[in-house]
Symmetry: C2
Subunit: 415 residues, 2 copies
């Protein structure tokens, strides 16, 4: 096993500390701010929302990531998104970075910001400052500190999401290997189709890797991980994924696309995919995880589009919630997705731990065992496999069922 | 008033008769088949689903419409969609047309078919024949017969949809004008984003108009009417809109794009828009109609895309249901729609009979009167206006709120 899962999250890589604090932004007593800090300047890579309306922290972080400068901290708040606040929002963002920098002894351009919550209101600067005053002395490299930070950034999430792995890479001294760790945390439910409460993700690694390659690795794993989850089709103004690398593992600097880069990229993909699937499973109101695998498609992008269309279909989602094997809806969602295929040759199966049911082949819906289908649809994870029979590419998307609770949560989110 | 609304639907134009019957396809005693018949051969135009997976009746109707031949009847059943049934489904469709043609004394190519309901099962041919045996002797040109037909094609619809108008066009004899009538019925909830239970629409007119111009008029009004409603983002395998023109009004044949064509096109647009809005308001589980008007956009297509994005956003829909003025979600839905605009200059208002609230202008969410917003959001029809300040084009989309009932209906549709 080249990639080994370990407990914990963002504090597992050498040099990283985290903290959580209750700043009174969300509601009294709820921890609503988190900080991730590194003892040395970090290389940073990032991907951001494609929404034209970008929250102030997205604009701030993107500018810094693109500048090429190193960073040492990220400050995150939940409760208010700092989106749709115009120049005042940008000022709050910059002032927060400046205040944290002052307390931490850094430049403001070394501090990144993340916000998630309601769009519109301006965050009270005094609360942010108070939060930072609590966060800095609480910074710790314990596993618990990472877990507390992953809990503090939650909005409608019901469970915190963290994950960490280790890999072995050649040492900087040219002899033997060293252990490199990647730990991450995230909240929310998507990137292409995220929940309004926003997808925020932070990955901390002690790998030594050049900035361009860190960005390349991150950008290459996102399309098949965070971008393949969908909860409700709404792409947030705040989606942000950042990867920090401090080089403290002592590995030989990853400076080209060699074997070490490939292993690192694979480990980063594992962390991103695991966090992404945790988000899909914890989609607002979700009671089940839906995994849609599209195989034998002509292009990768078409495979992704088809898989996302099925995972994102309101009718498929409602059917899974209702454990009603009205599987023509899967066929329908493939058909309106856009990519061209021949309905006469494709095959669709659903499966779970209790078995598998083929319900479409030879150009038509097949008779199937209703009891078997009900048993599968009663499981917590439903696997839908679509064999398009027109190529060699495949893609997997993850979503969740559509429940009464989704409506309830979103009909009255502000209060 | 050039276009005058009159009561009734598909039987109002001269020469058309309709009937409804209980054939036992949906459930015992429910009228689940309808027929529209014309005393003379009709010119026909149609638009069909863009879904790659097309139901057998869509393939049948499209072939006939494209052939250029005249038709005299359409047979519609609810309960089963006749989609995903392969060659057997096509055979059922053709046999239904052949049987109806035999009873009516027509060729099978003069009979169109519409089906809506569950995907997968094959419709029992004996039930279809039995239904046709009941329908033919029941054909009537009364207003009630049209209404009964519009009720028989319903699936999860809670109210039937019909509408009719009259216009005055120059008479065929060159002296004075004659009255031309357009009557329509429809069921379901969409065309671009229809509900799985399918959008079916039938418009019957006694206008004399060349086939190419009838198709041109229909194709030109669909993008701003049926294609601008959205319920759940799922495009059905069965969507079909047909327009029949029998020429019995005695108007001078519309053979070029003159004033008569424009007035006819406008009347057709009024019928299509009215039926479309009725469908949006009756979206599955809907308690409110949402109307989104996007103004001052650079291109018509971009205006349409933005309007549909807001009307189709799960989060906007849930917010309207919850009467929660979390209006940043409207801004967000504009932002991820695709078309480029400047968030700093746009303006967003919501209004109803009780007043208007501006909540976004000057690049930020504005403070607003919560009581006023609640009063507006408590109304049955909510108007959202987005001024994009970058052009002269506008478009309107219609949708409905997302409710517990939507989930309930779709979690257990088959039973």
């Amino acid at each position: 096993m080249k990639i080994r899962e370990i407990p914990g999250g963002v504090t597992k890589a050498k040099g990283f500390k985290a903290a959580a604090a209750a700043a009174g932004i969300k509601y009294e007593g709820r921890k609503d701010m988190a900080m991730l800090w590194c003892s040395v300047p970090c290389t940073v890579a990032g991907t951001f929302t494609s929404n034209i309306v970008k929250a102030a922290p997205v604009l701030w972080d993107r500018k810094i990531v693109q500048s090429g400068g190193k960073v040492q901290a990220v400050v995150v708040n939940t409760g208010i998104a700092n989106a749709g606040c115009g120049a005042e929002g940008m000022a709050v963002c910059e002032d927060t970075a400046a205040y944290a920098a002052e307390v931490l002894g850094l430049q403001k351009e070394e501090v990144l910001i993340g916000s998630t919550g309601v769009i519109g209101p301006v965050i009270d600067m005094e609360k942010l400052k108070g939060g930072i005053d609590l966060l800095v002395p609480a910074l710790s490299d314990t596993e618990e500190a990472g877990t507390e930070a992953s809990k503090a950034i939650m909005t409608t999430d019901t469970v915190n999401k963290e994950f960490a792995v280790t890999i072995e890479l050649p040492g900087a001294d040219g002899e033997g290997t060293v252990q490199v760790t990647l730990g991450g945390m995230s909240k929310g439910s998507g990137m292409i189709h995220p929940n309004m409460c926003t997808m925020l993700g932070y990955i901390a690694t002690d790998a030594a890797i050049e900035k361009e390659l860190l960005q390349k690795a991150l950008s290459s794993v996102v399309p098949d991980t965070f971008n393949m989850i969908t909860v409700d089709g709404d792409t947030s103004t705040n989606d942000t994924l950042l990867a920090f690398a401090d080089g403290l593992a002592g590995n030989r600097l990853i400076a080209e696309e060699d074997e070490s880069f490939e292993l690192f990229r694979e480990a980063l993909g594992t962390v991103c995919r695991t966090l992404a699937v945790k988000m899909a499973a914890d989609g607002e109101g979700a009671s089940k995880l839906i995994e849609v695998c599209v195989k034998h498609m002509d292009t990768k992008e078409n495979a992704r589009t088809l898989a996302r269309s099925v995972a994102g279909s309101s009718l498929v989602k409602a059917m899974i919630f209702g454990r009603d094997a009205n599987c023509g809806r899967i066929l329908c969602a493939l058909g309106y997705a856009g990519p061209v295929f021949d309905p006469a040759v494709i095959r669709i199966d659903i499966s779970g731990e209790s078995g598998e049911v083929n319900f479409y082949t030879d150009g038509r819906i097949q008779p199937f065992d209703e009891a078997q289908a009900l048993a599968i649809l009663s499981e917590e994870k439903i696997h839908i496999e679509c064999d398009m029979a027109c190529g060699a590419e495949e893609a997997t998307a993850w979503g969740c069922d559509l429940t009464y609770d989704y409506v309830s949560i979103n009909a009255d989110y502000r209060s």
